[in-house]
């Protein structure tokens, strides 16, 4: 087993691709919840349209982020040894699956594209993101996953 911190396999230089991508789907899915709430309050279609665009772009980038994350997860046993990594990985795959279902719900026409199923799914996704985000930070700030060390350099 090499020394130093657990390493990222999918990286550009010493920058892990997963970490560079995840802000995009996180912001998109939180934005989906906000625009869903705005739609539920106003029934103004512009909010529902905004939701489904946010969901769609969020999903596209989330797929890339999940691929990069899984490459890191599968290629580094020291990452797989962390319970935080398991919670982070399984939770975020669930986020992706639920968001894909949510995109189909949001592709219905008018009110039932959001209320109630779409809004509930958007809220569940944000709740899971809080848990997976917390565990992701645990991986980096506690276990130094993908943080370059002098041994690496």
């Amino acid at each position: 087993m090499p020394g130093g911190n657990p390493r990222s396999t999918a990286r550009i230089g010493y920058h892990p691709i997963h970490v560079m991508l995840v802000p995009i789907p996180i912001v998109c899915f939180v934005g989906t919840l906000l625009s869903d709430i705005a739609y539920a309050e106003t029934a103004n279609m512009q909010w529902a349209n905004m939701s489904v665009w946010l969901l769609t772009f969020g999903i596209l980038i989330a797929i890339l982020a999940v691929i990069a994350g899984l490459i890191d997860f599968l290629n580094e046993p020291r990452i797989r040894d962390l319970s935080a990594a398991w919670i982070h990985a399984v939770g975020n795959v669930l986020v992706l699956v639920l968001s894909i279902i949510n995109a189909f719900i949001h592709s219905r026409d008018a009110y039932t594209s959001v209320v109630p199923t779409g809004l509930i799914l958007s809220a569940i996704v944000v709740a899971i993101l809080l848990v997976t985000g917390w565990n992701g930070w645990t991986m980096v700030y506690k276990h130094h996953v993908a943080v370059s060390s002098e041994i690496d350099q």
């Binding site: 029934a43 103004n44 279609m45 512009q46 529902a48 349209n49 489904v52 665009w53 769609t56 398991w86 919670i87 399984v90 939770g91 795959v93 669930l94 699956v97 639920l98 279902i101 995109a103 189909f104 719900i105 592709s107 219905r108 026409d109 008018a110 009110y111 039932t112 594209s113």
Partner: protein
């Protein structure tokens, strides 16, 4: 955690896989259709037929009838209209260009439109065919009128020929026997069109006394997903004063009304209407109805009378309370676009007095419905029995050779059918 994931996946599969019990379309034909519960899909069914040229084949008609190819190599023929001297007008509209997608879903819907409609680029023009001896083989045809904009409805009153472009009705001078109009039209009134222009076909007819025109103006969405403000003046039949162009909504709540026709014995206006999608393969039945002045037929708030559609907000219980059920259901997603009453004598007596309906055919249910011309018998100005198939064979298994649209009766009593995918006009006679 892993088990949660498995459960979620299983749930996703279950949601996608289950659908409602199919309903026999016969239970949805007539004045009291069976209406199943609303079913909203995760992945709505889309069943598209592959386009296949007619070649040497023809549509199928019952024994005692004959079908002929009246005109071929057309470009998206959508309506046919017969002038008093027997000349046949064939309208070739280019549908309006779809606006940039408002939602990712529209990429799929636009692809679907291309798959199921004529791929021939149409010229926005009207052709004239002359078959003076009535043998079903026109002696000649010629360009009659061009520089139009997505035309659909045509009606002649005296020497005034009216054409309903998607965005306005124009009047052109016409004299019997004329084969070409080159003078520019005079605008009678604007019609709701752009932006979006979701249901763009504007049907047109005139009152029997010739003082009023009636235009069908379809909705700008399936079920208000483009916003209620996009629906101003839409989903209605307009009454237009022929002298002044003054107009008002004669009847409302008609999602996509086409084939406007006066029943010749009672002088009552009838229409066929395309109802809403995406709440199940057997909802909502499309229908044939008389158009009552001032009546509200439900769209978007409710269907078949007071059945509330949960997709429309804000709710309007006051309007739902006013909604009246239409007269005669044709079953779900058949997409009726053509209507003509048979008041001639060439066809067998069985077909006298009733209505022929051109059903463009379904795309959003697993089992195809429509893709044929049906006959609804009438007695005392009302439908009096079960609809029956008259012209079929537009589908050949999973292949689609044509799709019937507008209908007309020619001066020798033949039934003319515009076929926008087969790029042909068919003629049915005894």
């Amino acid at each position: 955690m892993r088990s949660v994931f498995v459960v979620a996946l299983a749930a996703a599969v279950a949601i996608t896989g289950c659908g409602p019990e199919p309903v026999n379309p016969k239970r949805q034909i007539g004045p009291h259709p069976y209406l199943p519960k609303i079913h909203q899909y995760l992945l709505p069914p889309m069943h598209l037929a592959e386009k296949e040229p007619w070649g040497n084949t023809k549509p199928t008609v019952p024994k005692g009838l004959k079908v002929q190819l009246f005109a071929k190599d057309l470009k998206n023929p959508r309506s046919v209209y017969v002038l008093p001297n027997g000349d046949v007008l064939v309208v070739e509209p280019e549908g309006p260009t779809a606006p940039p997608p408002a939602r990712p879903k529209e990429f799929v819907m636009n692809w679907m439109e291309q798959k199921t409609h004529s791929s021939t680029k149409a010229p926005d023009q009207i052709l004239l065919f002359r078959d003076a001896n009535g043998d079903g083989v026109p002696e000649f045809h010629t360009l009659f009128l061009d520089h139009l904009r997505a035309p659909f409805g045509v009606v002649l009153v005296g020497n005034d020929l009216y054409v309903a472009n998607t965005d306005a009705i124009y009047r052109f001078p016409y004299r019997t026997g004329q084969t070409r109009i080159t003078v520019p039209g005079v605008k009678l009134c604007d019609l709701p069109a752009f932006p979006i222009d979701h249901h763009w076909t504007k049907s047109l007819t005139a009152s029997p006394d010739g003082t009023k025109l009636y235009a069908g103006v379809g909705s700008n969405s399936n079920i208000t997903e483009n916003g209620l403000s996009a629906e101003t003046g839409r989903a209605s039949v307009w009454e237009i004063d022929r002298a002044t162009g003054a107009h008002h909504e004669y009847a409302t709540g008609l999602r996509n009304p086409n084939g406007l026709q006066f029943e010749p014995h009672t002088n009552v206006l009838w229409v066929v209407v395309n109802e809403r999608d995406e709440i199940g393969p057997d909802l909502v039945p499309d229908y044939l109805t008389s158009v009552k002045k001032g009546a509200f037929y439900g769209w978007p708030y409710s269907y078949w009378g007071q059945h509330v559609d949960p997709r429309v907000k804000p709710e309007r219980p006051d309007l739902v309370a006013k909604a009246i059920p239409p007269d005669y259901a044709l079953s779900s997603h058949v997409a009726p676009l053509g209507l003509v009453f048979y008041n001639a004598t060439n066809l067998p007596a069985h077909y006298h007095g009733g209505a022929f309906i051109g059903e463009h055919g379904s795309w959003d249910r697993d089992v195809f419905n429509g893709y044929k011309v049906v006959y609804v018998p009438f007695a005392h100005g009302r439908p009096s029995g079960m609809a029956e198939d008259v012209v079929t064979g537009f589908l050949d298994g999973d292949k689609m050779r044509g799709r019937p649209v507008g209908l007309a009766i020619d001066s020798h009593g033949g039934l003319l059918i515009a076929d926008d995918v087969g790029n042909a006009v068919w003629r049915v006679t005894r």
